[in-house]
């Protein structure tokens, strides 16, 4: 059963130098207990998509079209008061940069407690819950009374995760949760997220630029480029049956242990979203582009069960 359903979501930024289409017609479903990885380079729109799910796109951005249906309700249509209740408690978010997402002027325990109390937790119980969840993420009680600058990056991220799970949300959006951390800590944090998924049966949306990470951990993967969803499939299916040229390029750019040559990187630059190329937004960098690709934007085609690809030549290419 689906816990989250995103339909044809479009987000645009209305800047002084032009209109940027950050998210263009993205749709997906998320089931209970499923981890969906949204993979893309910087500028692919994945972070904006994450914020849009909570209707938190910052100015000058705006969601101009689409629905985000959570538990049967389109939360984009809720007023501020109602969506506030969902944020943090039913859909929560973990951000990329642990250094700026905890308020440096307040102690961990104060920020955490306030968060709990704000969502209706009893004042007396709040502190116990703080302690409990900090423990659940592997932090000692001492941390509670510290200030954020006294903790390491990994510890700070754990605190963010603790807050993100403390109210047992149904969906956790993790936007590049490990990018700012070193490799060893990365594994710890991802293991933690896996545990949470197991234990609390939460659905996780993992936003990342790292295809390898996605292939390792996620159940389903959606590859984004220039604001469009290019390919969407379950992990195994994607690994065995990669169809979209961009996905393949990403995959080939990954370094491999037994590989002899350097990994092939994709030529060209990410598109200027104020002035996107006509037709398929990927065509300037695609080695398989034909005339049609330059004129018509490709539709999303279902190539097999639950495997979607946005490419004109998907039938012919292997």
């Amino acid at each position: 059963m689906e816990i989250l359903l995103v339909n044809d979501l479009w987000v645009r930024y209305f800047t002084l130098s032009g209109v940027v289409s950050a998210v263009s017609g993205v749709s997906f479903k998320l089931r209970r207990g499923e981890m969906l990885a949204i993979v893309g380079e910087s500028g692919s729109g994945k972070s904006t998509l994450g914020l849009a799910l909570l209707n938190m796109v910052p100015k000058p951005g705006r969601i101009i079209r689409g629905e985000v249906i959570f538990d049967g309700v389109d939360i984009l249509k809720l007023d501020l008061h109602e969506i506030r209740k969902i944020r943090g408690s039913r859909i929560s978010m973990v951000f990329q940069d642990p250094f700026t997402t905890l308020d440096p002027l307040r102690r961990i325990v104060d920020q955490f407690e306030e968060f709990l109390i704000e969502h209706g937790v009893d004042r007396a119980k709040a502190r116990t819950i703080v302690r409990e969840y900090l423990e659940a993420v592997g932090l000692s009680e001492r941390i509670m009374y510290s200030y954020p600058h006294q903790l390491s990056g990994g510890q700070k991220q754990r605190v963010s995760i603790a807050m993100a799970i403390a109210l047992n949300p149904e969906v956790i959006i993790a936007d590049e949760p490990t990018t700012a951390l070193d490799v060893v800590v990365q594994k710890q944090i991802m293991d933690l997220i896996d545990n949470i998924k197991e234990k609390y049966k939460s659905s996780i949306i993992l936003i990342t630029h790292d295809l390898a990470l996605a292939l390792e951990r996620a159940d389903t993967i959606m590859v984004m480029y220039g604001g469009y969803a290019m390919e969407y499939a379950e992990k195994k299916e994607l690994f065995n049956n990669m169809k979209h040229p961009y996905t393949k390029a990403l995959f080939e750019a990954l370094p491999r242990i037994l590989q002899r040559d350097l990994p092939r990187s994709l030529p060209g630059y990410p598109p200027d979203l104020r002035n996107p190329p006509p037709g398929c937004i990927f065509h300037p960098r695609c080695e398989f582009a034909i005339e049609k690709c330059k004129r018509e934007p490709p539709p999303l085609i279902e190539v097999s069960r639950n495997h979607f690809v946005r490419c004109h030549r998907v039938g012919e290419l292997l």
Partner: protein
């Protein structure tokens, strides 16, 4: 390092700064041409012996370096010398007498300036209109360059002469009934629960404090507005939103961040406040060190002027220290 050591070191740093200013003033007042006593007395026709006697009495016949160090040592022991004009009158007692008045004016002025400046800046940050925000910033710039006596006289005209609501000057009209404890009349009256005197003192301080406060409030408007805007767009606030915290609480937390630049700025601009206080006191006949200085200036009482400069140097040093301590209290990153 711990807070205490931090304070101690900063306190010690005040000394060299005060010394630099004392030396500067000493050089200016003593080394420049002209006999100070003659200038003070305003005439050139004094018999030799009388002049010599006067100078010896004031210690002005001793060699310069001796005068320099002697005055310094005496000052530390609390003896600021004697007035050149009023024979034998110790300066220290005059200054200590008038210090509370200036302190009272300063405190009330800062309060007004924060309410007006930070208040407008904070409100402005919550407004959507860019036009309003620009107006607030512009107001801040303009208000800062208003000539204080002009504003003061104007307010006196309106509120004293035409509306008859407030007195034109001085600190109290019913001085008899107040027993001064701190010398800050509004505070003293409050402590003694003497409401009529409290109101009287309040009426006297409103105009001067508002005048000075309004002018000083200017930079705070822009500072608060810009910083609030910046913080409200920061990732910290984004994270608060993602956690579903309500808007009013978020604004309060954001404000705490803004307190940092506000405190820093207050420390830096305290000197400006002092200058403004001198003008304000003169305009309103407020009996503080400002008027004292101006009086002494008119009579060319050099020793007194020298003492006042040292006092101001110490005051600025101390306030800067207090502000630093406040900053450490607000921002835990400085402490640990």
């Amino acid at each position: 390092m711990s807070l205490l050591r931090y304070i101690a070191i900063r306190a010690l740093m005040i000394i060299p700064t005060v010394l630099v200013l004392y030396t500067l003033v000493f050089i200016i007042l003593r080394v420049l041409p002209g006999n100070p006593v003659l200038a003070a007395l305003g005439t050139k026709n004094i018999p030799e012996e009388q002049l010599k006697a006067l100078m010896s009495e004031l210690g002005l016949d001793k060699p310069l370096y001796q005068q320099y160090f002697e005055y310094l040592f005496n000052f530390i022991r609390g003896d600021m010398g004697k007035s050149m004009i009023i024979r034998g009158r110790p300066i220290a007692s005059d200054i200590l007498d008038k210090l509370p008045a200036t302190l009272e004016l300063s405190i009330w002025s800062i309060m007004f300036s924060l309410i007006i400046g930070v208040g407008l800046g904070y409100l402005g940050a919550g407004v959507r209109s860019e036009f309003v925000k620009t107006i607030i910033r512009l107001t801040g710039s303009i208000v800062f360059v208003i000539f204080i006596p002009a504003l003061g006289l104007g307010l006196q005209l309106v509120f004293s002469k035409y509306l008859g609501l407030l007195p034109t000057g001085g600190r109290l009209t019913t001085i008899g009934s107040l027993k001064p404890i701190t010398g800050i009349y509004t505070l003293d009256a409050l402590i003694q629960l003497n409401i009529p005197v409290f109101i009287d003192a309040l009426k006297h301080i409103v105009l001067p404090a508002f005048t000075l406060g309004l002018v000083i409030s200017g930079p705070y408007m822009r500072l608060t507005l810009n910083n609030m805007e910046e913080i409200l767009e920061s990732k910290i606030v984004e994270a608060y939103h993602a956690r579903g915290i309500r808007e009013s609480k978020i604004r309060r937390h954001a404000f705490r961040h803004v307190l940092i630049p506000i405190t820093t700025y207050t420390g830096l601009q305290f000197a400006l406040l002092m200058g403004g206080a001198v003008l304000t006191e003169t305009t309103f006949n407020w009996p503080g060190i400002g008027t004292y200085l101006v009086d002494k200036v008119m009579y060319r009482d050099y020793t007194a002027i020298q003492a006042v400069v040292i006092i101001f140097a110490i005051i600025v040093g101390l306030t800067s220290l207090i502000v630093d301590v406040l900053y450490a209290l607000i921002d835990p990153r400085v402490r640990y």
